[in-house]
Amino acid sequence: MSWWNNQAALELFPLLLEGFRITLLATLLGSLLALTLGLVFAFIDRTAPEYIRRPLGWVLQFIRFTPPIAQLFFAYYVIRPNLGIGVDALTVGIVVLGVHYATYNAEIYRAGIEGVPKGQWEAVTALSLPQGRAWFGVILPQAIRRVLPSLGNNVIILFKEVPVLSAIAVTEMVRVGKEYTSDHFAFYIEAFTIAGLIYLVASYPTSLLMRKLEVRLGN
């Protein structure tokens, strides 16, 4: 194992974990945004008039059909300077990933809402529940329960996409590894193997959990 340097590995590990904290933070906040905004999109798609739904559909399709990295560059170098307030790179990154995955989550929520039996809507009407109560008390709890595994999978996918934030100099884990290796002109294997393993260790059990959930919820 001449190409593996234990000392560099030991030095890298805590640094990478430090970067991993940023990765997790971005995952957490990005997913939170993706989950709420996705629900908002799905809600608009379900209730708003055609002249709002249609353009919204186009925008969401555009976001889905373009890479997060290109969106990131656009947000960071075109939108951010025009905001007039200081926003750091991490925030831009979280918002871009959050919005990107919100467009996918919207589809998941939509499918979930469509999957709620028609009888439930009829029951809601028969009881003349107010709109808000109907949505938040009856329809959404059922819809979200059914699609929890799919939403969870998108969290995992977002998690694996966080390294794109290194393109705008967010020091998440992969960026840390890259900086370390370019400082030393060495230790590429150590850096990217450890980073890969950290990813595997974090994401594999989570995706197993999602699969289990999927089986338990019976789809």
Binding site: Y77, E107, E161, G196
Partner: protein, 242 residues
């Protein structure tokens, strides 16, 4: 706003040269991914637990580790481990994209094969076909119709993921856009806007092509899809398989 259009004309040629690399990455990555999808997908149906287990481990490994990390690994670490330097990092990009999406595609192939009714397998046995003939002549052509829509999703994800090569310095479309900004910050708006639009157009073309192929494949099986539905984008609920 006036200079938007002048810079637009300046930026375009450079972006088009980036598109060439994006297309090479996407097309080659997709071909490699397709081959690996079938390899791993068929392995996962093997009777031998060794073969099944091997495919399972490879698939889980490439799905479990981030594509970005794999990309770094193939570009920076692999040459040291194997002593084999790919003369162009684009090859490393293709390998990383192909392996990653091959792992996701394996699930598509497995699902597609499982969707072919057991009775069709039985008919191929009754006609005394070899296991390979069963797949080639009867099962895969039918399974394809089921596989095309999810493959279409993966193809668009792959196109989008090809932009990750920016991070290892491969000069694709996103890279060229970023380069334009670095040389002249006033052209950033034009460069990034055009690159977004170009990605969208590519994705839209791929999507349309895949929908047409789906329609063709299903019509051949006697299950025509309404034209209106084919014109709609594939409803993808899973984000980039990164």
């Amino acid at each position: 706003m006036g200079d938007f259009f002048t810079t637009f004309a300046d930026a375009l040629p450079q972006l088009l040269s980036g598109i060439r690399i994006t297309l090479i990455l996407t097309a080659s990555g997709a071909v490699l991914a397709l081959v690996l999808s079938f390899l791993f997908g068929l392995m996962s149906r093997s009777r031998s637990i060794m073969v099944r287990g091997t495919s399972r481990v490879i698939v889980e490994f490439f799905r479990g580790t981030s594509l970005v990390v794999q990309l770094f690994w193939f570009v920076y670490a692999m040459p040291i481990v194997t002593g084999f330097q790919l003369d162009d990092p684009v090859y490393a990009g293709i390998i990383a994209l192909g392996l990653n999406y091959g792992a996701y595609g394996a699930e598509v192939v497995r699902g597609g094969l499982n969707a072919v009714p057991q009775a069709q397998w039985e008919a191929t046995i009754a006609l005394n076909m070899t296991p390979l003939q069963r797949l080639r002549l009867v099962i895969v052509p039918q399974a394809m119709a089921e596989m095309i829509p999810p493959f279409g999703n993966l193809l668009i994800q792959l196109l989008k993921a090809s932009s990750l090569v920016v991070l290892v310095g491969i000069a694709d479309l996103s890279f060229e856009a970023e380069k334009i900004r670095l040389t002249n910050a006033t052209e950033a708006t034009a460069a990034f806007s055009i690159s977004l639009v170009l990605y969208f157009v590519l994705a839209w073309l791929l999507n349309t092509g895949m929908r047409a192929w789906e329609g063709h494949a299903k019509a051949k099986l006697g299950r025509p899809v309404p034209r209106k539905r084919l014109l709609q984008p594939v409803r993808a609920d899973q984000g980039g398989a990164v």
